[in-house]
């Protein structure tokens, strides 16, 4: 197992209270695997992605649990060691907001050099060659190296960010909504490039986060569904799509719009209501208020249990 996340909890500690954005989350990623994490906005996906780095910049705070990377507990690394030995080299990250992720006053080349210098001691010429190669792999011309972010289009920026994030050939790439800021055709290109890099072995494993299940369907081997800070279902992609076990997963899949299918406006299903306020401690099923199948039985704590080779946080199982 490359990555093992065990009972990880993280909170935003704000003057108005503590928001438990990641609550007791456990999952793992194998070498050569792509794991998709899905859920609606505000469910804690991005915080989870960020927490794997174990940096926890305030107001984010580590509450409990651990992250093991190749068997090594990241808790035992201090901030300096994490940055020098893990982040960017072993675990890398494609952020959600790639549009603003490049320092506006530095050329792409200089940002790449900064990343190299943070981790290794090689000549400027070699850094340049390696950066050029990586851009080439993403179908970006060499001239991009001399550009500033303002000179790049949205799709190019996203590919530049992917190039920078994979510059050092990380073992695990965490891509947080890599396509959310792009138009449909750029989305397709970016997903294709990510797939290509994975096949070429530029990175070995990937966690890809999205609120659009359709993106994960074509990319991920396994999918973890997140709701209100908790994982509610984890399983193989095909099986999750074919037979969701959690009512929330079912609702999410029901709202997927497949390209090509004609969908009438009124018939697009949507899920009423909003997720619960995470400032309050909820002791029973968090999906209770929005679940069409909810009854008295659901008013108690639901554990993530194995069923049919899958993990699910709902007692009802197949009768939904």
């Amino acid at each position: 197992m490359m990555l093992e996340v065990k009972d990880l909890s993280a909170s935003y500690v704000l003057p108005e209270g503590e928001i438990r954005a990641v609550d007791d989350v456990s999952f793992s990623v194998d070498e050569g695997e792509i794991l998709g994490i899905a859920g609606e906005s505000g469910c804690g996906k991005s915080t989870l992605a960020f927490s794997i780095s174990f940096l926890f910049p305030p107001p984010l705070r580590h509450v409990g649990g651990s992250v093991l990377f190749n068997g090594k507990d990241l808790k035992n690394f201090n901030d300096r060691e994490l940055r020098k030995e893990i982040l960017g080299t072993k675990i890398s990250y494609v952020p959600q907001s790639s549009m603003n992720s490049l320092n506006p006053t530095r050329r792409v080349k200089d940002i790449a050099f900064d990343i190299f210098r943070a981790h290794m001691d090689i000549s400027e010429k070699e850094m340049y060659e390696r950066a050029k190669e990586r851009l080439d792999l993403l179908s970006l011309p060499e001239s991009v190296l001399n550009m500033y972010s303002v000179e790049l289009s949205g799709g190019m920026k996203q590919r530049v960010v992917i190039a920078l994030s994979t510059l050092l050939g990380p073992e695990l790439l965490i891509a947080d909504e890599p396509t959310s800021a792009l138009d449909v055709s750029s989305q397709r290109i970016v997903l294709k490039e990510l797939k290509k890099l994975f096949k070429d072995g530029v990175f070995k494993s990937m966690i890809i986060i999205s609120h659009e299940l359709i993106i994960l369907k074509h990319l991920a081997h396994r999918i973890a569904i997140m709701y209100a800070g908790e994982l509610v279902e984890v399983g193989e992609t095909e099986r999750i799509f074919k037979e969701p076990l959690h009512p929330y997963t079912k609702a999410l899949i029901g709202s997927v719009l497949e390209p090509g299918k004609r969908v009438e406006r009124e018939k697009i299903p949507s899920l009423p209501g909003a997720p619960p306020d995470l400032r309050e401690k909820i002791t029973w099923c968090r999906f209770y208020d929005r679940c069409p199948f909810a009854d008295e039985k659901c008013k108690r704590k639901q554990e993530l249990v194995e069923r049919d080779g899958r993990l699910v946080r709902c007692e009802r199982g197949k009768d939904i």
Binding site: F50, N100, T105, Y148
Partner: protein, 334 residues
């Protein structure tokens, strides 16, 4: 559009602005009520028979060309300007305006430039440090900076003059050097100059620090929370590198502040120099306005105009190099 072309175009605009400004400089003093020549003549000739007074008056009017129609006066003024001639002062007749400005300007520049630079550098360092460290340091620096920069400058100057110059008597409260001292390159005279220099200098540095620190603190806090800072962290960049990113980008608007300070330094020197009786250009402008000294007002305002325009022009050009976003925007404007 190439950058060279852009610079040329900007340059032409500034030239046009300069032309309009010099025209205004010609018109405005002439709108001040009162006849400057009769005031001078009255001063010079108390007790002289009124007939010869009349002749002196007329010869002055002729010498200064004030008998000509305003349009011709304007043409003469522009012609002289072109040749670098600023004319002869009314109130200090027969001293030339160029000579007066030449004597006063070094005092102003020697006071303002170091004060602005020191204040600007200290203000930015303190502001960035407060943003990065937060906590107690920030809690003290921020209100103090706010107080100093919100207080009218003349109040601060007069308070400092009273406390350190009069009440404690640490520094001479006014003047550029002692009345009894003889200007020379001796050690004693240098000490005398420096002790007179301290109060106006420190007061200027204080206000500059105040306003710069507030601006830099805000900008740094903003930059600290940008996506590129988070991304850099996730890629394992060291804090030292990230701080240098933040500092550089937060500095950009501060450079505008520096250029504006330099641009307005001659005009801004009036209050400092009046409060501290400093023999710079501000004091002369004040006197010139009081005595309707058209040529001297014109000359000094011209100096002010040139510094403002030059500072802005320089800024326009520099920004293209400092911030690629601005350069891209300028090119698009076409």
């Amino acid at each position: 559009m190439s950058y060279g072309k852009y610079v040329l175009r900007k340059g032409l605009w500034y030239l046009l602005t300069f032309f309009i400004a010099t025209t205004l400089v010609f018109i405005i003093p002439r709108l001040i009520p009162g006849n400057p020549i009769s005031a001078i003549v009255a001063q010079m000739g108390s007790g002289v028979p009124s007939e010869s007074m009349q002749r002196v008056y007329e010869s002055f009017i002729r010498d200064y060309g004030l008998d000509k129609p305003v349009v011709l006066q304007y043409i003469d003024y522009m012609k002289n300007l072109f040749h670098g001639e600023l004319g002869i002062s009314f109130s200090l007749y027969p001293k030339g305006v160029t000579e007066i400005i030449g004597e006063a300007l070094p005092w102003t520049l020697a006071l303002q430039i170091p004060a602005i630079l020191v204040g600007w550098i200290l203000g930015n360092l303190l502001g960035a440090y407060a943003a990065y460290k937060r906590g107690k340091f920030d809690k003290v620096l921020f209100p103090v900076s706010l107080l100093v920069s919100a207080m009218p400058y003349y109040v601060l100057a007069i308070l400092m003059q009273y406390i350190f110059g009069v009440y404690l008597g640490w520094f001479p409260p006014s003047g550029g050097y002692s009345m009894s001292a003889f200007p020379s390159f001796t050690f004693d005279f240098m000490v005398d100059i420096l002790s007179h220099y301290t109060l106006p200098f420190v007061s200027l540095v204080a206000v500059t620090i105040g306003s710069q620190a507030i601006g830099m603190r805000e900008m740094s806090i903003y930059e600290l929370n940008t996506d590129y800072v988070n991304y850099s962290r996730m890629l394992g960049l060291e804090d030292r590198k990230i701080v240098s990113y933040i500092f550089r980008n937060a500095m950009l608007p501060q450079i505008t502040g520096l250029a504006i300070s330099f641009g307005t330094m001659v005009g801004g020197s009036i209050i400092t120099e009046i409060v501290f009786g400093y023999p710079g250009i501000g004091t002369w402008l004040f006197n010139a306005i009081r005595q309707n000294d058209y040529p001297l007002i014109q000359g000094i305002v011209l100096v002010i105009t040139i510094t403002v325009l030059f500072a802005n022009f320089f800024l326009d050009i520099m920004y293209g190099f400092l911030d690629p976003r601005i350069k891209a925007g300028e090119m698009e404007e076409g």
